[in-house]
C-alpha cells in the first residue's frame, strides 16, 4: 500500500478555494489528500466591498459559508497558522497547537491592510473619521458614516504600493462623486485623491485615461504623496516631503502586507510576500512550496482575475512536481479588471508582465466585446454579472471560456506597437 501524501493549501480565499476545486478531481484519492486551512469560516466576495460604503450592497450580500465552496473529500480546517517549517515539511496551527505535515504546500493567504504601519493612523481617528473599505467591518462602518455625513473634504489616500486591487481606490472616488451627486450634496464635498504614484494609475496609458476622468469629475489628484503621518488631533495627513492635506473624512488604503505567519516563518520579503518565480509560481527557495494570488511577490496586480489566469500554470506545475518532474507551464502576468466609474458606467483594462493596458475592445466569448480603456455601460453590467459568476462558476473551478494568455485581438494600436507586442507574445511567457 502506498503512503498517503498531503497537498496542504493555506488560505481559502479566491486562489486557495479555486485550486482545491481544480486539483480535487485530478488527484488519486488513494494517494493524495487535500487539506485547506483558513482563519475564517465564511468566504467574502471581496470585489463587493467597494459597493458597501454607498449602500449598494450590505455586508450580508457578499459573504457565504466557506464550506459551500469546498469540494467533497477536501478537509477544511478553520485556524490561524502559527508557523511554517519548510525544512521539516510541516505547518503548526494556532488552534490546539495542531501540526499538519505536507508533501506539497501552497501559500494563498493573500494580503491584509496594516493601518499600524502608518504613523498615527490608529491614534484617535480610526473608525471615527478615518475608515478603510478593504475589510467588511471597515466598509460597513464607512457606510454608516456616509449616510449621515453633511459634507466637507473627503481625502482618499493610498499609503504605499502594492495594494490589493489597485484600481479600487479610483473606483471609490468615482463612486463617491456619483453618490454625493445623487444625494444632491456634491457641492458640499471636496474630493482629493492622494497617491504615491506619479498619476492616477501605474500604467501610462491607463493613468492618462483615468486622470482625465478624475479631472472631468472635479477630483483633485495629489500625486507622489508618500504618507509619513496621520495627525488625527488636527485632521491632517503629512507626506515625508512635508506636504499637508487636511481632511474631514479620510478613506485610507493602509500598507498591504502578507500574513504575519510568513514573517514568523522567515519566508517573506519586506512586506511578508513570498518570493515566487513569476512564471512557474514555485517558491524561489523550496521546490515543494508554491505561492498563488496576492500572497506571492509577483510584479502583477493583486486581484482575483490574476488568480484565474494563474490556475492553468499552478495546476499543471503542481501535478508535474507531484510526479517528481520540473514545472512546465508558465503564467504571463495577465491581469484585467473592470473599473467602476460611477453613473452605471465602467472601463475595462487588460495587461500582463510585458504589455501595458491598451485601448480597444476585449473580445469576451459568450458575453461579447467590451470596450477597453473607454467608458461604457456594458462594462458595468459585466462587473455586476461577475458576482454571480464568482460564486457559481469561478470559485468552483469550473472552466470559464477566457483565454489565459493575453491577446491583442481588438486592441487599437499602431502597426509598430503591434509588431513589438506580437514579438513579446510569441516569445511565450517562459522565455521572456
Amino acid at each position: 500500500m502506498k503512503t498517503m501524501k498531503t497537498l496542504l493549501i493555506l488560505g481559502a480565499g479566491t486562489a486557495g478555494t479555486m485550486l482545491a476545486n481544480k486539483m480535487s478531481p485530478k488527484l488519486d484519492r488513494r494517494e493524495w489528500k487535500i487539506i485547506l486551512v483558513d482563519k475564517n469560516d465564511v468566504h467574502a466576495y471581496q470585489p463587493g466591498f467597494l459597493f458597501i460604503p454607498f449602500g449598494i450592497y450590505k455586508a450580508e450580500d457578499v459573504i457565504l459559508p466557506q464550506r459551500k465552496f469546498v469540494p467533497r473529500g477536501v478537509e477544511l480546517v478553520t485556524s490561524e497558522v502559527e508557523v511554517v517549517e519548510p525544512s521539516a515539511d510541516r505547518v503548526v496551527l494556532c488552534k490546539n497547537g495542531g501540526v499538519l505535515n505536507y508533501d506539497q504546500l501552497v501559500i494563498a493567504t493573500g494580503t491584509e491592510i496594516r493601518p499600524d504601519q502608518v504613523e498615527g493612523m490608529l491614534d484617535g481617528g480610526w473608525q471615527h473619521n478615518i475608515f478603510d473599505f478593504y475589510t467588511l467591518e471597515g466598509a460597513a462602518r464607512l457606510a454608516d458614516f456616509l449616510r449621515n455625513w453633511q459634507g466637507g473634504r473627503l481625502v482618499v489616500n493610498v499609503a504605499e504600493m502594492p495594494i490589493k486591487c489597485p484600481v479600487a481606490p479610483l473606483e471609490f472616488v468615482f463612486l463617491a462623486d456619483w453618490y454625493f451627486r445623487k444625494k444632491g450634496m456634491r457641492d458640499r464635498v471636496e474630493i482629493v485623491y492622494a497617491t504615491p504614484l506619479p498619476g492616477a494609475f501605474t500604467k501610462p496609458k491607463a493613468s492618462a485615461l483615468l486622470g482625465d476622468l478624475m479631472a472631468k469629475k472635479g477630483i483633485h489628484v495629489e500625486a507622489e504623496f508618500n504618507i509619513g503621518e496621520v495627525d488625527s488631533s488636527r485632521n491632517v495627513i503629512r507626506s515625508w516631503d512635508g506636504r499637508e492635506i487636511a481632511y474631514d473624512l479620510l478613506v485610507a488604503m493602509p500598507t498591504n502586507m502578507g500574513a504575519e505567519f510568513i514573517e514568523r516563518s522567515g519566508m517573506g520579503d519586506e512586506l511578508n510576500f513570498v518570493p515566487t518565480n513569476r512564471y512557474t509560481l514555485q517558491s524561489e527557495q523550496w521546490e515543494n512550496i508554491w505561492a498563488l494570488g496576492d500572497a506571492a511577490n509577483l510584479p502583477t496586480s493583486k486581484a482575483g482575475a490574476v488568480v484565474h489566469y494563474q490556475m492553468e500554470a499552478a495546476v499543471n506545475n503542481l501535478l508535474s512536481s507531484m510526479r517528481g518532474e520540473k514545472p512546465t507551464h508558465c503564467f504571463d502576468g495577465h491581469a484585467n479588471c473592470f473599473v467602476e466609474t460611477g453613473f452605471d458606467k465602467g472601463v475595462l483594462i487588460d495587461f500582463n508582465y510585458e504589455i501595458e493596458p491598451l485601448p480597444g475592445m476585449y473580445p469576451l466569448p459568450v458575453v461579447g466585446p467590451f470596450r477597453l480603456l473607454g467608458e461604457s455601460v456594458f462594462n458595468h453590467m459585466g462587473k455586476l454579472f461577475f458576482k454571480w459568476m464568482y460564486w457559481n462558476i469561478i470559485l468552483k473551478g469550473i472552466d470559464v471560456p477566457l483565454p489565459n494568455e493575453m491577446s491583442l485581438v481588438g486592441k487599437s494600436i499602431t502597426a509598430e506597437e503591434r509588431k513589438t507586442y506580437l514579438q513579446l507574445i510569441k516569445k511565450g511567457a517562459c522565455n521572456v
Binding site: E160, M161, P162, T202, K203, G228, W240, E270, P299, T300
Partner: protein
Amino acid sequence: MSDVLSTVKFDAEGYMVDANAWTPEIGTAIAEREGLKLNDRHWVVINYARREFTSKGQPPTLRAITKNTDVTTKELYALFPGGPAKMAAKVAGLGKPTGCI
C-alpha cells in the same frame, strides 16, 4: 566631474543605461550633478541598493531599504530629497525603479 561622467551613458531621465559600468567615483559625480554631497549615510543606502540589485535585478523599495539597513524613512528623505527611491537608484547607477502595480 564632467571627466568622470563624459563616457557614461544615461537615459533621457538621467539614469545610467548600464548598471555594471558604475563605480563609486561615478556615483559621487552623479550625486554632485544632482546637487548632493555624499556622506557615510548615503553610502549605507547606495551600497545596499547595489547589493540588492546584484542579487535581485531590481533596485530595492523604500521599505526594503528601511527594513534591511539602519536608515529610517525620515532620514532617507533627508538624505535624498525629492524621492529617495528614485534618487538613490540614480546615484547607485541603477535603472529607474518601476512602480509596483
